[in-house]
């Protein structure tokens, strides 16, 4: 299963994702710059990513807690998600995300 990540300089990384890992864990395991400060507790909004294209509709929709936490994301867009809340699964093979800008 692949997770395709565009970093903040525009480089594309094709990561091997594992079933049941969160997208945040896959990205952090690859040492890409994602601070994910709270460690996956949906409590900080520093694992913020943009979902590429049609993938937004294929993802299970965000829970209210994630929607509320995104209020603390910087540069939030309609396709914003918290990567700690995206659980990798066979249906998400090839999921494409872009790392959102961080706080200055």
């Amino acid at each position: 299963m692949k997770l395709i990540v565009t970093d903040r300089t525009g480089n594309i990384h094709e990561l091997d994702a594992r079933d049941d890992w969160s997208a945040m864990e896959v990205i952090r395991d690859a040492n890409l710059p994602l601070s994910a400060e709270c460690g996956g507790a949906c409590a900080c909004a520093t694992c913020h990513v943009y979902i590429d294209g049609a993938w937004s509709e294929k993802l299970p929709s965000a829970a209210q807690q994630e929607i509320d936490m995104l209020d603390f994301g910087v540069a939030v867009q309609d396709n914003s998600r918290l990567s700690c809340q995206i659980k990798m699964a066979p249906g998400l093979d090839g999921l494409k995300v872009t790392l959102a800008p961080e706080s200055l």
Binding site: S35, E37, C38, G39, A41, A43, C44, A45, T46, I67, D68, M69, L70, D71, F72, G73, V74, A75, V76, Q77, D78, P101, E102, S103, L104
Partner: protein, 348 residues
């Protein structure tokens, strides 16, 4: 005895200064206290607990030995209880800003002007100090502290100004409501028509918007217009209108906090990817007398777990004792059997 919250400013002397009042800094007070060493704690937040109380006060933690389930706030409360006998002094709402040699030990100065002299300094700063998130809007830095503020210190600064507040949390809504009566115009900008803030504040805000006393835009901030630090306009963007400019003289972005290493980076300690390498027998940095425990340190096999930090604090305290009491013999004792430890704990 109980912990004491010190007023900002003043000069203090103690055995050990701990930077960071999270769970690891708090438990270090306990381990140092058993060895009769006095501690002062400095934290940028206005209360102890660090990440536990700032990020997940209500979330349960399941891997603290002996506690099947405890929340971040619950763990902090228990640690505060546990360290009560040792009368640590808390310097909260202050950032440890500079470190210099003072005799055999150190002098730490905070951004509130507090000076603390101690033989030993322990960095227990976790992921760094909590500071407001700064949205990546091009050129925003050139307006900081003149037109862009991440906190309200003097409300009067915003009197008769066109104030734009960005965000949807409690700080955004609370300040929108507090500044609305004195601002020339108050504009709230948020990316959605929904808020994580308390429903009561949201209702008040909506009422003011309905009465035409506050403006609300579902939009994101794209850029700023102004000159020489003086903001004149804020360019917003949303699906319906694309880019459009609104007047704005002051901008207050409220997007919560993030952790930055901050001034510790300038303390002269070796760093590796913003972490402090330590030896695992004493948890001392490359600088003798400067220690690092908890998430801020790194060593082979390091796990960022609260329980690791507790262990690190216990070993740190042994070496701190050798620095602080060079002429005394270190006596290793158990709290279950030592009557002198039990006296210190106030249970004998």
């Amino acid at each position: 005895m109980t912990e004491r919250v010190a007023a900002p400013g003043g000069i203090h002397k103690t055995d050990v200064v701990i930077i960071g009042a999270g769970p690891i800094g708090l438990f270090a007070v306990f381990e140092l206290g058993l060895l009769d060493l006095k501690s002062h704690l400095i934290d940028i937040l206005d209360r102890p607990g660090g990440q536990c109380t700032e990020l997940y006060p209500e979330k349960p933690i399941y891997d603290i030995p002996g506690l099947v389930e405890v929340t971040g706030q619950g763990l902090t409360d228990r640690l505060m209880d546990q360290i009560k006998p040792f009368g640590a002094t808390l310097h909260v709402g202050q950032m440890a800003e500079s470190l210099e040699k003072a005799g055999e030990g150190w002098r730490i100065t905070t951004d509130a002007g507090t000076q603390i002299e101690a033989r030993v300094v322990v960095v227990a700063a976790g992921g760094g100090s909590f500071t407001p998130k700064k949205p990546p809007i091009p050129g925003i830095e050139s307006y900081e502290n003149t037109s862009v503020f991440y906190a309200v210190r003097k409300m009067d600064r915003f009197r008769d100004k066109i104030v734009v507040i960005a965000g949807g949390g409690d700080s955004a809504l609370d300040w929108a409501l507090n500044l609305q009566p004195i601002a020339k115009r108050l504009v709230l900008v948020h990316h959605r028509d929904g808020f994580r803030a308390a429903p009561d504040s949201v209702n008040k805000m909506r009422a003011l918007v309905a009465e035409g006393k506050m403006e609300f835009h579902v939009a994101s901030i794209k850029s700023l217009r102004g000159a020489e630090g003086k903001l004149q306009g804020v360019v917003l963007n949303n699906k319906e209108r694309g880019d459009y400019e609104i007047p704005g003289e002051m901008l207050l972005p409220f997007f919560g906090l993030t952790m930055k290493l901050g001034p510790v980076a300038n303390f002269g300690i070796n760093l590796h990817e913003n972490l402090i390498p330590v030896d695992t027998s004493k948890f001392e940095s490359n600088v003798p007398g400067l220690f690092a425990i908890g998430d801020i340190n790194t060593y082979p096999g390091k796990l960022k777990l609260i329980l690791s930090g507790f262990h690190e604090g216990a070993l740190m305290a042994q070496q701190a004792f050798r620095y602080c009491r060079p002429n005394e013999k270190l006596r290793f004792q158990y709290t279950t059997s030592s009557s002198s430890l039990q006296k210190k704990l106030g249970v004998a």
